[in-house]
Symmetry: C2
Subunit: 154 residues, 2 copies
């Protein structure tokens, strides 16, 4: 906290009063997620992969042959949103839309290039996770994870 930090001479802005916000899980959740996401974006940037796109790539890698509707539902996205994300992923040749038996829909597959990128991304994901959870003990991580899962059950 600011209590322990000696004020620097250059510029002192007294800390602003946050009021009840400080005690709200909703607010702290937002703070943590924003910070985590910003850092995650930095880890992904060298790969040319936007944070949201990693999630989609990951789901396709683990679940080849699914339709866009399946995927949108699993990722919690609108199908129109997913269309745009898949446009980006297929423009980079990381993901393929293959026509299926039902000619209204596509079956989604990761490409070899996509596989390579995905593996590289997984390494970054682990590094990111280790970094952001560094302040927590192993036990605390488990407790936190369980709490989060109870908060947003499927």
């Amino acid at each position: 906290m600011t209590l322990s930090s000696r004020p620097r001479p250059e510029k002192i802005h007294a800390a602003l009063d946050m009021g009840a916000l400080d005690h709200l899980i909703g607010y702290q959740l937002r703070r943590c997620a924003l910070r985590s996401q910003a850092r995650f974006a930095e880890f992904m940037a060298p790969l040319g992969l936007a944070p949201g796109l990693f999630g989609v790539l990951h789901l396709i890698a683990l679940n080849p042959g699914r339709t866009q509707i399946d995927l949108a539902q699993a990722a919690g996205l609108d199908r129109s949103t997913l269309t745009l994300m898949l446009d980006q992923l297929s423009k980079k040749s990381w993901v393929e839309r293959r026509p299926g038996a039902d000619r209204r829909s596509f079956n989604l597959y990761i490409t070899p290039e996509g596989q390579a990128l995905w593996q590289a991304a997984l390494t970054e994901v682990e590094a990111h996770e280790a970094e952001i959870t560094a302040p927590l003990s192993a036990d605390a991580k488990i407790v936190l994870l369980n709490a989060l899962k109870r908060l947003a059950p499927d």
Copy 2:
């Protein structure tokens, strides 16, 4: 989990494999925050207040007379971002930019209308918080809050 839920006859999409994502705090954080924010937006919508604008209004209400730079720093926003948000808040007459001694800057104040709106918003904030934390015991809430604060210290 899906283990206990009887499959409904209409439409069965086998749950997609999430792989390691399920065990990542970074990912679960994102899921929870997105869900919380979407719900928060619904609570704020009747007031005509976008979620991000509430935070700014709240800071101004609690810290009258501060400059935009102060506020941007406290909210973790760029000053250009804050300019746009204040444009919206002042267009609705909820916030006032008053010229100060230093004629480069403004001092920010909440208006009477803003006060009324802020009070209404605080009620919604509490309702939102109660709803999203409903799955947790009082103890679990405290533990979660502490974990989140350790994750994103100031």
